[in-house]
Symmetry: C2
């Protein structure tokens, strides 16, 4: 199968760099085709701006969504954006790997999403009616593909526990796993997490690569997170709130996962 | 008082641009001193990387945290980073204004945080003992200052309701309000939110500026979000999990707010 590894860390001689090379080697040895987007090494342009749309009318008001739609439809996107979209089309699975910086992904990775998730490609797709509110949250161009996060954190696991001071890790990752990956249709696997990155000795590294290798071996067979399909009957449309009898009386991110 | 307005939108002739100018004018008319960080206009460098530390040993392994600490301690930070830190020191209140892109702040603003939140400035501050785990979550260099988010979203309010498909807006903003602002000591005011940005007509704009003006008029008197102080007795140290008798049996972001 085809696997795209996206990594957002500025130092190849880091834990993230090592785990990235481990994943590329492990997947290749298992017979998969691997492509890489090493965002720092590529010197990826992080900020979405009018320069991304070289053929737009420079005198007109810049609208990030509408200018993105026009460039995507007319084939006038910049080469760097089109190349990353091609990688996503090629991939059967995408792994986003990053250190947790200020409780989210590094800016360079956020900007990769913002720039390549064009209107008409990752959003603004599908009809809007009384029963269907766009191809999103379970439908979309990435339907049938898998995605997984590999995230490192300096803090302790207990700091990210259900009652930990940082908030639960699964909730911190919800805007990425549900809002960025499930939105355009990816099936999202549970994340692989490494805590206390400054305390990783040889024994811990051996354990991590063992576990991560097992996660890669089940990349195409593991059960995805059972997020609810937006257009599957669980939500009122167009309010897009969960219908009363679903997860009755409950609120928050967790209600969007079934079972 | 001194107010820093930070804005992350690429088009001055946008709703965000208009609201930014409204806020600057309103605060100035009320007698406050206003400074601005218009990140797109400044062409702010978004990605934290080794180039941020010009005097570091280029042959050594780059460590974003430790290199940041050394540069901050030795006064060898880049001029753009030091200037933004000075603005934060100067400010009595900071307003971060942005469109919600993929359920979080734009990359350029995330990178502003990552680059100016140096080790020794915004984190890695204070003693670590059995009763005190760093000056953070209620303590830190920003203690006594106020912060507020002004966020625009294309989606409907119901999509961000407690049972809305996107997740509750207050939970989507928790990693920013608690993890980025409360962490170094800001008192965080409830956010001002604008939904369905593509449907704002003159009447809606008049209502928005009326409401936003009232929020600015109470910037220094409104009650902050009552996040729990990390070192105030509610958390076990160093596990940093909420003690059993606090919000007993509950989990998730909401347990870190009292009352």
């Amino acid at each position: 199968m085809n696997v795209l590894l996206v990594i957002a860390h500025p130092e190849p001689a880091s834990l993230n760099g090592s785990l990235h090379r481990f994943m590329a080697d492990h997947l290749t040895a298992a017979g998969h085709s691997v492509r890489v987007s090493d965002l720092y090494a590529m010197r990826w342009k992080p900020a979405l701006d009018a320069d991304d749309f070289p053929t737009r009318d420079a005198a007109a008001r810049f609208d990030p969504a509408l200018d993105s739609r026009d460039a995507y439809m007319n084939g006038t996107q910049t080469a760097d954006i089109a190349a990353e979209q091609d990688k996503l089309r090629w991939a059967d699975a995408v792994i986003l790997q990053f250190p947790l910086w200020w409780y989210s992904m590094p800016a360079i990775l956020k900007g990769w999403i913002e720039r390549i998730y064009a209107y008409g490609f990752a959003y603004g797709v599908g009809e809007h009616s009384d029963t269907h509110w766009g191809d999103r949250f379970g439908e979309g161009v990435m339907a049938g593909k898998r995605a997984m996060l590999v995230v490192t954190a300096g803090g302790w696991a207990s700091h990210y526990a259900p009652r930990g001071v940082n908030g639960p890790m699964e909730d911190l990752l919800f805007p990425i796993q549900h809002g960025i990956l499930y939105y355009p249709g990816f099936d999202v696997l549970p994340p692989y997490l490494v805590y206390r990155t400054h305390k990783i000795d040889e024994a811990a590294y051996a354990r991590i690569t063992q576990e991560l290798g097992e996660r890669l071996d089940t990349l195409f067979s593991a059960e995805p997170i059972p997020f609810r399909r937006q257009n599957g009957g669980d939500y009122d449309i167009p309010a897009l709130t969960l219908r009363e009898h679903i997860a009755s009386g409950r609120t928050g991110f967790a209600v969007h996962t079934s079972g």
